[in-house]
Symmetry: C2
Amino acid sequence: MARRSDHSRQELTELALDKSLEIIDEKGLSGFSARAVAERMGYTVGTLYNVFGSYDGLIFRVNARILDAWHAALAAGLHKTKKDKMRYLAYAYLDFAGRHYNRWTTLFEFHAKSSPPDWYRDRIDRHFRLIEETLLARTQDPHQNRRRAKVLWASIHGICILALGGKLDVVGSDSAKTLIDDLLENYLGAA
Amino acid sequence: MARRSDHSRQELTELALDKSLEIIDEKGLSGFSARAVAERMGYTVGTLYNVFGSYDGLIFRVNARILDAWHAALAAGLHKTKKDKMRYLAYAYLDFAGRHYNRWTTLFEFHAKSSPPDWYRDRIDRHFRLIEETLLARTQDPHQNRRRAKVLWASIHGICILALGGKLDVVGSDSAKTLIDDLLENYLGAA
DNA sequence: CATAATATTGAACAGTGTTCAATATTAATT
DNA sequence: AATTAATATTGAACACTGTTCAATATTATG
């Protein structure tokens, strides 16, 4: 039996999240389970439930981790970019989704039974604000800006999720990148 | 015990698909299970597996039904529409997704372990061709046409899935319809 | 009418999230 | 230091999932 002094509560959550991402990287969400995580931690399901309360509670934390990494990857290069920030953002979006495909799809394949906690919604908002602020360099009208941000956000998401999921017959020249180029060219070029 | 003369094989599949859609309409994919379908049919799981082979096999058939209904809804009004067919198509897309939300999300929430059968891919292609052909009225270059169809297809999909899923803060004026309008206006207006 | 063929059943299996009494470990108190 | 209170950990149990398959019931065939 694992002694309770082996890991503090915080170390325990850290360990759980690490092992969770490990499993997701290896097998995706379908290979993910509470018992699988517990086993890799060297603990049992009970302990996991004592820490996270429920399966949903655990995955929300895992997804928050993924969102944090994703946001960091987007924001990092954005500050260094001077011209055409919007295009950089879209590329970086696609790049992360492709590089960490299993983590990225987990964000959307997971359908919680309960509604997301506040700290999770905050991370979604933060993600969205990135596009909104990048667009702000182009437009001044805040209403129009928000609407355009939503359209671009949703469109880029749609392109990534269908293209990377192999549901758009994207081969050769018509890669996901090309589609994003086409979207930005025509949508923003006209606006 | 149900006699095997009660329903022919075809009647059996029909019954199963009907009950499946019934459950999905009521509870969504999370309330859907092989046993639940069998129970409503008045049979047992074994019979269901004898007919459909596997859970994935069943759901692919259910989803094909949903795609058929969706395609019919899109195509029906499209032929009657004269001007701005593209806008009609996008509206009809959104309308079906909203009117039969549980059926629509089932199409995307279901993640098969096996790759889809040919007759399923055909239905996806047929769906995509609708946009492609509608666009053809605008452009002549087939390469450009295909690319634009993909971009629009993915973008509209992204808008619907995020907006209807409540992940875009779409309230008041910024409804999903408004976003679609904005997309078509700017993307096609420039092209 | 006997036999071959097959449709249907229901129990069994391994897996899932979830709960919770029993136990082991630590902290607090005397 | 010994006892007691508090809590972390366990593992069995529950209801559910998809899946399999021998046994049985039903129908078709010779």
